[in-house]
Symmetry: C2
Subunit: 407 residues, 2 copies
């Protein structure tokens, strides 16, 4: 049996980069860019007026002039009009091009206006300190040809806006992962069926599909009874056409748990079976050469859940963004906790945001019932290492979060 | 001018609950449930075998018996067979119904098997300590009729799995918010056009639409030049058919900034104009009675961005989930910082996850350039209060996060 850390390493080592597909800009949010984007012109592309007010030549201010007849008015989007007479000014709006012949903007707050013979005149209340004031100069932020977004970034709304600025109407992004979600077990019936007294409805597959959907992966669901012939026929096409298979059930020591042998018979190489952890120990993991990666998770709902968030989700992220760095979040245990077996224990916790910006994790032991309903009041698992038995309030441990908070 | 806190209160006070729509279970992840869900039967629905092994009558163990002939084998999903002879046992798999006549399960790890005259016999290596061992008892987690999910919860994968368990093939959830994203400004051209030297491409609308999409809201984009007649004609249908309008540009003191007056002329009641903050001060906010809420954001890209995350996104969340509690995350300033004006300052920061589970915020001043490209290396704004001038390393401040980390 291997450790959680070794199992995680072996899982992540099988992540494969995804090929590109081109999607329209609005659909690209959350996706990973596969080609770099460069500035098509300077940022800003011209000396951009940064405040509403007047544009003037600073030499006139330096010479002591304090009132400026308004020679023209220029709004954003207008073709700039050169200032012919440096004793006058252009009334000007934020976003406009600085008119040739001017080099300084004085904002409305620092001006008073009056009329002289029907001529609008601005009087300086606060003189500008230097030329260049209130101007966002051409190329101050980026030069034409500069790298704006490197390949490999995940596109958040800020990146989408920058891509819009350079006219990228569509972007090459990593295509969505395609995952087959396979449930096995004679005791399971479909959602819409009424179970007999000894049956239950399929729920793990819905959990896995929902979590994949949140992660931006596509999935399709398949169900097989505990019937070796059906699996022998049904699995090979899935192994050849999906990036990954997520199975739940059939990997323990029971008589109906023939999946590990069956997968190897179908050409899937076992990379490990069983991890030193609770819950979720009987996890089987393998990869078919030139085919799918196979996560065969134990079928107990909480075991499926823990292993999805510890192994499957990080693998999905790594495939989407091979260079992506993700900090491993940690939280502080809120109360003492004991766990004796030499296994990594995934302790269900409710998270509380403490005033100084750290997370407090309140243990919510669920008594090993395997019931997902008992996780409804939890937000995460705290991953307690196997070497320790007593875990003290205030100690920090890695966090495996399954519910968004504050987002 | 009002404070950021007062502005936020007034914005959130206009949040309206959304009507229900029914969506298929897989599409309900991330949505807010509008009707409670109850257990359709006990959880578990029967005495559920929790380990692979044998089921027996504890009275035989108590009487000193240590070997048990296997009378039958029962896999999960099989109709349970009563144990006729309490001196025998049923070989049994996880998930099966406990057979009538048995009350205890012994796992394979605590057994050895041998054959006696062709009869499979299990010998106890570790005797079970009491009746009921390794059984997940009927109704241990929930009773039929118990509340499983109250109305108002946001459906994460755990809730989806629980809904599947009770056969909820479709769920009543809050319908998506519908937002009109309106850009104004003669200087703006479409993404696919080549701008003239004094023009730039629309980018704010793409940013806002991307962020709304991430938040689960639907949006449609509209553009108007700085033309009062076009706005007077174009805005009323939007005010009557969308939940909200998000405008950017046209709310400052400039000559083309006629939006506040125009909106009031169209029946939108002003709730405030201008907030004591930088950037983003000229924010105008109003509501049309029986119509849309109107966020008229300043058009400088960084101002639009700050105000979207400080006001629009929390309003969207409040509409989706009126009872939703969200902790206000905080982060610790990593280095000293000064800001003198009596305004709330939204300081761009890069976040670092510190070893004890808190966030360190590294200031990344962007020089007031208003350029979104300068936010590409930032993750959040730290909201620095107006009362202070000197902000010390190690002090905690509220965090307005715009990029997901560790999720």
């Amino acid at each position: 049996m291997i450790s959680v850390e070794e199992a995680t390493r072996r899982v992540l080592a099988t992540a494969r980069p995804l090929p590109a597909e081109t999607v329209p800009l609005p659909a690209a949010v959350g996706r990973v860019l596969l080609e770099p984007l460069y500035a098509d012109r300077d940022f800003p592309p011209f000396h951009r007026v940064a405040m509403d007010g007047i544009a003037l030549a600073f030499e006139a201010v330096a010479a002591g002039q304090t009132t400026f007849p308004i020679a023209a008015t220029q709004l954003a989007g207008m073709v700039p009009q050169p200032l012919a007479d440096s004793q006058t000014a252009v009334e000007i709006m934020t976003g406009a091009v600085l008119p040739p012949g001017t080099d300084t903007v004085v904002r409305y707050e620092d001006l008073q206006f009056h009329e002289v013979n029907g001529q609008r005149v601005a009087a300086l209340q606060v003189a500008p300190p230097a030329a260049g004031h209130n101007i966002h100069h051409q190329a101050a932020d980026r030069r034409q040809g500069d790298l704006l977004l490197p390949a490999g970034v995940r596109l958040s709304p800020a990146e989408i806006a920058v891509a819009a600025t350079i006219g990228a109407a569509a972007l090459p992004v990593a295509r969505a992962l395609r995952v087959a979600v396979v449930s096995t077990g004679d005791e399971l019936v479909e959602l819409t069926q009424t179970p007999l007294p000894h049956q239950i409805r399929r729920s793990n597959a819905y959990m896995v599909q929902a979590a994949l959907r949140q992660a931006g992966a596509e999935s399709e669901a398949f169900h097989f009874n505990d019937d070796q012939d059906a699996l022998r026929q049904g699995l090979p096409p899935l192994l050849d056409s999906f990036d990954a298979l997520v199975l739940s059930g059939g990997v323990s020591k029971g008589q109906a748990d023939f999946l590990p042998a069956m997968l190897q018979e179908l050409g899937v190489q076992q990379l490990f079976h069983e991890v030193r952890q609770r819950p979720g120990k009987p996890f089987w993991f393998g990869e078919k050469p030139r085919g799918a990666v196979v996560f065969a998770l134990p079928g107990n709902p909480v075991s499926t859940f823990v292993n999805f968030y510890q192994y499957v989700l990080p693998w999905v992220r790594r495939c989407q963004q091979p260079q992506g760095y993700r900090a491993q979040p940690t939280a502080l245990l809120a109360t003492d906790f004991s766990f004796a077996p030499p296994l990594t224990y995934f302790l269900p916790v409710r998270l509380e945001l403490a005033p100084y910006g750290h997370w407090l994790a309140h243990p919510q032991p669920i008594g090993g019932s395997g019931d997902l309903a008992s996780l409804l009041h939890c937000d995460a698992f705290l991953r307690l290492p196997p070497e320790l038995t007593e875990f003290k309030a205030g100690d920090a441990f890695p966090l495996v979060q399954f519910r968004g908070l504050g987002s």
